[in-house]
Subunit: 343 residues, 2 copies
């Protein structure tokens, strides 16, 4: 099958039911804009200035424990707190000014005590404890009365806003279901109602038949560039069986998840032979006490690089005011990633 997008601009439908502009003829345009720095300096395994390295003092006045595998602590400058006042605001303003308090918790997960060990460089065995910590955190936070959603994510690289280079992820647990998850649930509900099938389960089946957007796979998971990918080398990791929460994974599946995470992150670093920035996050079902037969657990990787280690895709102007736009097709991105996966 030839991809229709090679032919010109086109608008594939997204998971969240918006549109995306694909303009693969645009990559030759000249660039006199921002060029990023590549962090090629040798990163030490311990940095006395880093507040995430074992035993160091943090800015909030706390000290990071002398930890040996993964390490979780409450964010000292959390965007969400559990102790604030509870309020609802309307001001008799006919719905013009409306707000309510949002309680929750923000935590930091250091992947390993080593300052230089990114997910891409960790072995499958070293990634396993990270998955166990995620599972524990989901169990603990998901069981809390006041928590409806637990967002686990990683900002990797300064280009993606990581405030500290020590490899770490975050957890933001909220009282409400965040916009993005709400939109994805709405899309998945609509599909289930219309077709009697789980959107992402049927979608994976179709992608495996077509094969052109598949990046990597193992016994339990498949990584692919979704048809509706917004970021140049965006990928999605989908389980082979339907699950709603990470906690449902058995031992073999947890090993397979570590394996696919290792392969995807290692592949990214090979695309431009430099550390590949991204935001990555897990999307399980909410903990809202409702059944979610429409939801399939998945992981998103949103990496910004486009043409080289120094030229990124910008989400600006038209993208912010109109809608997403991409300069390379999902199929060509998948091909690039498949190629480096086998190196």
């Amino acid at each position: 099958m030839t991809s229709p997008w090679e032919l010109g601009s086109a608008r594939p439908l997204q998971l969240k039911s918006g549109w995306l502009l694909v303009s693969p003829h645009r990559t030759q345009r000249p660039w006199q804009g921002q060029v990023e720095e590549v962090a090629r300096i040798q990163v030490p395994s311990f940095d006395p200035e880093c507040y995430l390295c074992p035993g160091n003092n943090r800015a909030g006045g706390n000290r990071t424990d002398v930890y040996v595998t993964t390490y979780v602590f409450e964010n000292d400058f959390a965007a969400l707190r559990s102790d604030g006042p509870t309020f609802r605001e309307n001001e008799g303003s006919k719905g013009l000014i409306l707000g309510e308090s949002e309680h929750g918790t923000c935590r930091v997960i250091c992947f390993s005590p080593r300052h230089d060990l990114t997910l891409a460089k960790m072995s499958v065995e070293e990634i396993r404890p990270v998955i166990e910590v995620w599972v524990e955190q989901y169990r603990e936070l998901g069981a809390r009365e006041e928590i409806q959603y637990v967002q686990v994510f990683e900002n990797r690289g300064s280009m993606m806003g990581a405030s500290n280079p020590h490899p770490h992820g975050q957890i933001w647990a909220t009282q409400s279901i965040p916009n993005e998850t709400q939109a994805e649930i709405a899309g998945q509900k609509k599909y289930l109602a219309e077709h009697g099938e789980v959107l992402l389960v049927s979608y994976l089946r179709l992608e495996e038949e077509l094969s052109e957007r598949i990046v990597a796979s193992n016994g339990s998971f498949v990584a692919l560039v979704p048809f509706w990918a917004v970021w140049p080398f965006e990928t999605m990791i989908l389980p082979r069986r339907r699950i709603e929460h990470l906690e449902e994974l058995n031992d073999a599946e947890r090993f397979h998840l570590a394996d696919i995470l290792h392969r995807v992150t290692a592949a990214y670093d090979k695309v431009f032979n430099a550390p590949f920035p991204y935001s990555m996050g897990l999307h399980p079902a909410p903990y809202d006490g409702e059944a979610h037969p429409e939801v399939q657990f998945h992981i998103h990787f949103y990496p910004p690089l486009l043409r080289s280690a120094t030229i990124r895709k910008f989400v600006v102007g038209f993208e912010l005011l109109g809608g997403p736009q991409r300069d390379i097709t999902a199929e060509s991105a998948a091909e690039t990633l498949r190629r480096v996966c086998s190196i």
Copy 2:
């Protein structure tokens, strides 16, 4: 009125009906992440290497005319083209893979022949011709059978993806109505149906009463930090009377629009005493042949800077996977902008 958001995290409702997390207690967190460069070098008024300066050759093989005021040309590397094939793609895939061709036009508008003259530095008289060009472009493109929306915008500064530092804006005219405009129209339609009033007209009235989020105003326009602002110093410019399209503005109003654009952009440059990057765009009603009694014309400014000229807000991790989050309240941002407006 004390702002409720000073009390803790909160979720004001947005124009597009999602939620936004406000965490004003978070700004003290330490930063070991990306620090931007400030462009403090003296910019020449003519740059022989710049393809937007008068008389220079462009990368596409064309030459920029020797122009004297504003200058419009077709983008040599347009994301949208009018000559591509027409197709619809479904692949019998039960709605899983769906796409269609998107035709359109992309143009570049150089604000002035001078390489160093940003909107912030242009006088009200110098901005007037830019507004006239916008009006002409809306007239011409909006009248085209195949065009439903005309998005006028500017990416200012390399941080916001401007591919060339010569002050310029862009026009992307599309066959379909972009996601953002569709979402805003849906929000405005809902409000009109529920309250019998135009959302942004009622909203402006309320904000003028409250006054705490107002930044600047003149006889025809008001600039404010909207209650639902996502970017730290985001502003919105609203007309005092209801209009759907820029073409409706009379002479005095065009002068007033130039004035408010001048004041807002000049104020931005004073916040950190350095060039202030932003994406800015106009949101008129679509040219889809339908009546849009719900739409009020407006202009958005989305600037990324947060704490200084070198520390920006990142739209990453939680923001991409969950929803928008801001670290300063809309009220404190408005206060800062009001203060510099009067300098």
